[in-house]
């Protein structure tokens, strides 16, 4: 590899090396010797120099030319095109097919039947300023996939975001949704939570609308004048109970291959129990406006120009939805570049290609960027570079309905992946703005090193520095102290909402999810207006942040593929666990204090006395007091983990004194341990009531959906007030962390056997 890199050097733009990579040139690089880091940086400079914004633009224009949802004709063409590209760049490429449940609407009807009548339009009008918005015949209509069939009529109740706590507030006002149709707004919790909770509460049906407060004119100018959602825009999306399991609803835990045993549709537990329909603000406004009952609490009020009431009624609705419950093919494009030295260690990079409609932002902005990475690596390979490890690119189908393409692939190849997958790097959408990274905290230092070397294309400072500035400006004084004291920026823990979930949370493969964003001028999420025309005006308008992402994620791939040993680091992980443990301890304390306080306010009638005597008010029932929990097992496990992490770090530094490489004979044995260490955080029995989720540190929340719950078994047991389960889960998580610490110790012992350099 050394010779090939040297051979490539003359092609590197010198200016670029100096201005972009130079500040970090003498910084250590996790997993590399000093010399190795120098070679790697030269390679990265060459990679950077080859990146072309035109590719991103051209491919986006092509891939977004027609709607390309799961099962669509153009979706197949998209997969074929991507596959052809990968082949042309020298990758071993195949398309892997799965057959998955993908209901599409046969009937969608929503009418207000009283006090006035109104028939909802349920369609987004084409716009002359948006070329693809007029491809009506190819577009999926506005709907929520995996809604139950249903034909229901009832009074409407406005339930805010439709989270469990919203129903508590309704109950205090004497409002019950049994036999009613709930009208929830998008936001706060993942959309699939809304019908799940509504059904738990006894509602007949669930409407979900896009309030302009959350992603419409309140935030900024609406399309086509600006980028935000217009009153006619609606949000498609899955409402599967994904916190139960991801992927095809009919094949939990196994790949949706032809021979797979499928659940009968009626038994699939992730399908909703009640009919659901997403609607635009324009369709929601007459219903909401016609509601009576108490005025909604201030935090519940959106931006529509009238007073928000809760109902129930007098607005009544008739909601009818019926679906074609068919199986469709999902086409995953899988492309490999074989590792020269450790072919059985895979670094996997994925981004979905299916969209709800044309999906310029979601997911094509990420897809074309990933393709550019692949082209860049392919070019390096054609010029002689050989990765140590195998690189696998995956363009997933069927992410939108519920991570189908990725999940079915992961489930199909679970055993292989448990053996070979080292790290999975996910992408999805990408916009102007700040670096955003989530993932396994063993990769926190790794990704921080990269973020200090990639330059923000507009602000011309390292993206890490820009992100640090943004965090400093938007946070509390306490967090600011932490940010300043800490060498690395924290990365987010991953919940769900993109294709990392099966890798991380089902199999326990270390993951990263990398994007840019936050300075786009609005988006048109899951609507016909998420188009090439829209993205060019409001997304990453000149694809500069696409290139920044290629530099970021490309570096991650290059380094993961080339490193002497996998660049995992454990003190950052231990620090994150310490933070989460502090959070759950605090959660229990706060819940104890809050419960005691609320009970006091209930029992001494303070709540009743403060309530308006002319409004219905039902004081909540006092709750059993919150016991003190025994967190000692987790605290002891954390202490053990911290010690193991510290010792490993000392050993690594000792073994690499003066920046020398770890001896070759130690590299593979170390990797063998490191690539599987994250799996020690999983448990085959999974989390309570959802065995598919096996990771004990990261999970999507059972009642938040996308939102992460760290230490989920413990945290959710506390939140749900299951005290025995909380203590049990403390023990389970502690055991896993101790096992994990032992793996770190094993890895250290491999290094300890290295003769001193």
């Amino acid at each position: 590899m050394k010779s090939s890199v040297l051979r490539l050097l003359p092609a590197v733009g010198l200016a670029l090396v100096l201005c972009a990579a130079a500040p970090a040139a003498d910084q250590p690089m996790l997993g590399f010797s000093r010399a190795g880091a120098e070679r790697e940086r030269a390679l990265e400079a060459q990679f950077d120099a080859a990146l072309r914004r035109e590719d991103l633009r051209d491919w986006m224009q092509r891939l977004t030319a027609h709607p390309h949802h799961l099962g669509s004709p153009y979706g197949k063409q998209v997969a074929d095109f991507i596959a052809a590209q990968f082949r042309s760049w020298g990758y071993e490429t195949e398309i892997e097919r799965f057959d998955v449940l993908f209901p599409t609407p046969k009937t969608r009807r929503l009418e207000m039947t009283g006090p006035e009548t109104f028939t909802a339009r349920l369609a987004e009008p084409p716009l002359p300023q948006d070329t693809t918005s007029g491809l009506t015949a190819e577009q999926l209509p506005i709907y929520n996939v995996y809604s139950a069939d249903g034909d229901v009529t009832g009074e409407i109740v406005y339930v805010n975001y439709g989270a469990p706590k919203d129903y508590e507030i309704l109950a205090e006002r004497g409002i019950d949704v049994r036999g009613k149709i709930v009208l929830a707004r998008y936001g706060s919790v993942w959309r699939g939570i809304k019908p799940k909770v509504a059904a738990e509460q006894g509602a007949l049906g669930c409407l979900i609308y896009s309030d302009p407060r959350d992603d419409g004119f309140f935030q900024g100018d609406v399309y086509p004048a600006g980028g935000w959602r217009s009153a006619d825009g609606a949000q498609r999306g899955s409402v599967a109970d994904m916190p139960l399991y991801a992927g095809d609803p009919l094949t939990p835990g196994v790949g949706a291959t032809p021979e797979a045993k499928r659940l009968p549709i009626k038994d699939a537990p992730t399908l909703t129990k009640i009919p659901v329909l997403p609607i635009s603000a324009a369709d929601a406004a007459p219903l909401l406006h016609a509601l009576g009952g108490p005025v909604a609490p201030e935090a519940w009020r959106g931006a529509l120009p009238f007073t928000y009431h809760l109902g129930p009624g007098p607005a009544r609705a008739h909601l009818q939805v019926e679906f074609d419950w068919k199986l469709v093919p999902a086409y995953d494009v899988i492309a490999k570049l074989r590792g020269a030295e450790r072919p059985d260690e895979w670094v996997i990079r994925g981004n979905h290609h299916d969209a709800w409609v044309c999906g310029a932002d979601d997911p094509i902005s990420g897809q074309v960027e990933m393709m550019e990475e692949a082209r860049g690596l392919g070019e390096l390979a054609q010029r002689g570079w050989k990765p140590k490890r195998t690189i696998v690119f995956a363009a997933w189908d069927g992410e939108e309905p519920g991570l189908l393409g990725s999940t079915e692939w992961v489930e199909t190849h679970a055993d292989l992946l448990r053996q070979k997958a080292a790290v999975y790097i996910n992408g999805d959408n990408n916009e102007r703005g700040f670096l955003s990274v989530g993932g396994s905290h063993t990769l926190e230092k790794f990704v921080n090193e990269i973020a200090r070397e990639v330059i923000d294309p507009e602000r011309k400072i390292p993206v890490a520095e820009r992100l640090r500035a943004e965090r400093l400006v938007t946070t509390s004084a306490e967090d600011r102290r932490e940010i300043r004291a800490r060498a690395d920026l924290r990365i987010d823990a991953l919940g769900s909402g993109s294709d990392y979930t099966p890798f991380l949370q089902h199999l326990g493969i270390a993951c990263l999810d990398i994007r840019y964003g936050g300075e786009e001028s609005g988006d048109a999420y899951h609507s016909i207006y998420d188009s090439f025309d829209h993205y060019l005006r409001f997304g990453d308008t000149n694809f500069e942040y696409g290139i920044a992402l290629a530099q970021t994620s490309g570096r991650a791939l290059l380094r993961l593929a080339d490193a002497d040993v996998l660049p995992l680091e454990f003190t950052g992980f231990a620090d994150a666990i310490g933070k989460y443990l502090k959070e759950v301890t605090q959660l229990a304390d706060d819940l104890r204090e809050g419960t005691s306080e609320t009970n006091r306010l209930i029992l001494d009638k303070t709540l009743e006395y403060a309530a308006d005597p002319r409004q219905p008010y039902v004081a909540p029932m006092p709750k059993p007091s919150v016991p003190y929990l025994n967190f000692a097992p987790l605290q002891n496990a954390l202490a053990r983990l911290q010690e193991s992490a510290r010792k490993f770090e000392s050993a690594r530094q000792a073994a690499q004194t003066n920046g020398q490489a770890l001896p070759r004979e130690a590299q593979q044995p170390l990797d063998d341990i490191l690539m599987k260490v994250e799996q020690a955080l999983t448990r085959p029995e999974g989390l309570p009531r959802r065995p598919w989720y096996q990771h004990l540190i990261y999970a999507p929340g059972f009642y938040t959906g996308y939102g992460v719950k760290t230490l989920p078994g413990v945290r959710e047991a506390i939140e749900q007030r299951h005290w025995a389960e909380a203590e049990q889960q403390i023990g389970i998580a502690a055991t896993a962390l101790v096992k994990y610490a032992s793996e770190i110790d094993r890895a250290r012992q491999v290094m300890a056997k290295i003769p001193p350099g």
Copy 2:
């Protein structure tokens, strides 16, 4: 008095005594012996029993039948009617006239001249559901009194609430209002602050509109369906620079009598420097909608259904206002019931009678309630009750333009009042809801005793208990601990906005301001829709809270008039001072830390790095660091005050052992000290740059208007970063507090001379 009370007893409704006053029957009553308290409670029960809701309704209907602003024909009739009533109840009554500046509009014009054209309506349409809304010819048009004349044209800038910090945020976005017309929304700071700050910033003119977010449909259903302000409703009001001085702009510090020397209008410092006009949401919407420039920060966005931009322009406006700068007569009704024992100690009770239009809520709800108090006391007097002290009722004119009637009366009789006024009790508007009390903290315990004895008409518990419940439910855990630990509920410190200001802040007369409210269903503040029809549906719909206020404020009057010694208490006052001192110390610390932190973020470019590179961003200039201030003089003064208060309280309790009365010979000398003790908190030189405000503990904020600043000299010097002045004001306030403590000591010595009972 004993005999007369006994004679009256048979008239008392027994049930009422048992249910309302009974729980407190054996509680001590500040200023009374045990026997005296018993007699007083019997008298109060009789007073309560005589109160009639019909009176409030009938008088309100009569007084709101026509617009009755300062200088209007019906305003004179209102004064005459009130005076006639007082006379009929046995009061020595006179109408005192002042001649005050009261400009009314000759020209009001507002047009958008680009990019589209639009002419503002500047009128509230009559409604068939609102009888008096159609009396257009008698109504004052929508305007802000004491606006300068002006004819200006310029681009518009949206400035949020128009407070100084709003302009800092504009400056960070590179937006300057020099040569522009600012569009501010009502709220947050008092309206008079908005044109004052706009002029300081160089604006040509100022428009103030009512955003539906703040008092329109966002809050609740709008008139006539509900009680909140409709899109056509606008808020009249004064924009005098009242934090400089209250009252007639031409006669600062002296009564506006015929012989008073008047300032030339051009020299009157409380008039605005630029033209101002209040407008409705309907008139503001086209201007606001036509603004370009950056999207307004989230907290600045109102409830109008479009994206809020800052400008400047492209919306341009032409604003023209011209006034008839005339003097008009103000008619104060002054009615006295002479004290039998200490006629030269006055307990004064006031409420204004002038309105912006018909003013059912503001001020007639308070005015008719005060009249009912007066009728009740008159009835007691006719049946033999004789107050120890003189009771003075005042129905003020010209409160709306700037507390004219009260201020001119106070200024005219300043020397007399300094000698004779013991306490002033103010009312204004009154609605359904919770007790709300502000005032001198020497009266905190006094008013708490009353609030524990008055029963909430709807919730049927003492109003103190209801208010305590409301505070417990709406506050932080820390404040909740304090509320529970404290025997008394804190009363608010008074800023400005009603007629207590000249008494409290100009002369140093102890004050209370008492109202109910918070559960009205919206109001129509300063609009033609603040009408009898509106109040009956949305205010205190059946006048039950009017009766509760009569019971509260009536008890205060009775007790203040009858007490053996004035019921002042100093430990509560010392506690309040301790709280304010802690606040200003914390303010200095926070400002120091905040300045240092912001300077750091500026100097290390964090703010710049975090800003969107495509948006204009101007980092603020670093500010000089905040020095440590010497608070020791105030801390020592507080210690002295606490000691004096404690000793006084011990002496009082010792002198009244077993609930016996203070010896008669000690009562008058004690009163002589107590009635003037608040004056020790004043200083003839007044506050920096506003000598009219002489109270060193309570003042309206120079940049908040109505909002109170406690320890104002110190607090505002810190806020304005005048460090030398802050230390000077610390010394001044400390000196006053020490002098005040000496007065308490003097009072204690009077008690010490009492031979042991």
